[in-house]
Symmetry: C2
Subunit: 255 residues, 2 copies
Amino acid sequence: MKLTPAGKCQQCSAFHEVGGFCSHLDAEELESLSAESRSVMLRRGDTIDSNELNTWPVLLIATGILSMQHLLEDGRKTIAAFFMQGDIIDMRNMPARHRGSLIALGKSKICRLSPKVFGDILEKNPSAQRVVWENLRTQTYRAMEHSADLAKKQALEKLASFIFECQHRQIITVSKNSVTIPVRRIDLAEYLGMQPETVSRGFKELEERGILEFQNTLSLKILNAPALRRIANGDRSSDHMPTAGERRFKVLSFG
Amino acid sequence: MKLTPAGKCQQCSAFHEVGGFCSHLDAEELESLSAESRSVMLRRGDTIDSNELNTWPVLLIATGILSMQHLLEDGRKTIAAFFMQGDIIDMRNMPARHRGSLIALGKSKICRLSPKVFGDILEKNPSAQRVVWENLRTQTYRAMEHSADLAKKQALEKLASFIFECQHRQIITVSKNSVTIPVRRIDLAEYLGMQPETVSRGFKELEERGILEFQNTLSLKILNAPALRRIANGDRSSDHMPTAGERRFKVLSFG
DNA sequence: CGGCAAGTTGAGCCAGGTCAACTCCGGTGG
DNA sequence: CCACCGGAGTTGACCTGGCTCAACTTGCCG
């Protein structure tokens, strides 16, 4: 097979994934976008600096995970959002005050799209436009929902919500109740506005209550989805019910 | 002057404001959008219910202020975002889980846009498309910034950030340092994830430190913008410096 | 000018932050 | 192959910012 100039795109998730932005482009568009764009590999900790964002303000995540981080004067750090496979980040003319830094949280491949070609495509290709539009709206409403979580939920409730968020966003689903957490504990804590210690204690409690079970730090199984759902929704009525763990133990020991 | 079918639009901020969505439409587009859309007046507390959002998922705020509220099982309530003049809310095909309720926080006029005509316009009118796109992006990054505020900032810091947010969003600026808070204390507390009591105490402290001064509950003057900025940015080094108020008092009493 | 919601003030308490010590794990080099 | 190392994660003890509840004041609207 002859490798067109856009041949590299054949390997890219944004091209071959159904619904991926580049899969909606015609040959000519793909050609010119590809010619004017640059893809990069990032490792954990790599930062896309401000200068770079000025020349390359439009990014597409091909694989991996990026974070938008905000830093306070005294070093407190927050992750305002996660960007994952298929997400498009459009920072054209963003005033600096709206900008955090974009930092990779693991090995990632991103494509810096030519702002000009990107803009042209949005104007002329309604189906590509729709994909980008949907993506941005999802980001918006996700961010708002996340705000709501941060504003009023307690530690356990935030963790529960987060697990569902991971479940909804994950691309490959091994089994219905398996969820993979795509980031380290520290990042998770920063995203949820809590301390790593608190995250640890929270997960421990959820395990003790028999609601979930960790395979390892990054992957878990939901054992009692309704209970987890109730916690995520802030239903405190069941807070002091006997836990599944306790109950099972008693039955076994007296049975 | 002859009143065209879209005559009602002549009065609307979205039409006559520079940069307003409808000001970017040509006569024909305005005509058909207007014919298929419905504007409504809302009063504080009016809710746009879920059914309504299914038939009219695209809204444009002409004047006033709406909130996106999320409710937890046990009654805790959060305001995830404010929508103000010029904002466009596009809820087409949003899964229910991403949806809070839209509730007016004061007298507002909104225009329910025909989703079909709105969609057609986005495809065909690049300049209108750009306006909507910019608006959505602003909403996105604002929501992310707000998440960052909620995640790690303390009460005072959140208040300080909020004042700057109001300053940036307000349409009419009386004087450089006057800021109008567009919502009541309760709403503000819900937006910032705190209690009204805490809001009150926070503002009191900022006044006592001589950083700002309230004209009435809704409007204030910033007296020391750099100090407010430092607080908003989470600089705790100045936390226990003598306050302007204290200093002034001492000078006067010994002078 | 009265009534009621909004906002403020005060006192006490607790969820989660902080700090410090410890364990676990993956990678590295001898 | 194993000993070592360093960062990530966990556990424990303590402390505090902001929540809670209750009483009070203010200000708006009829």
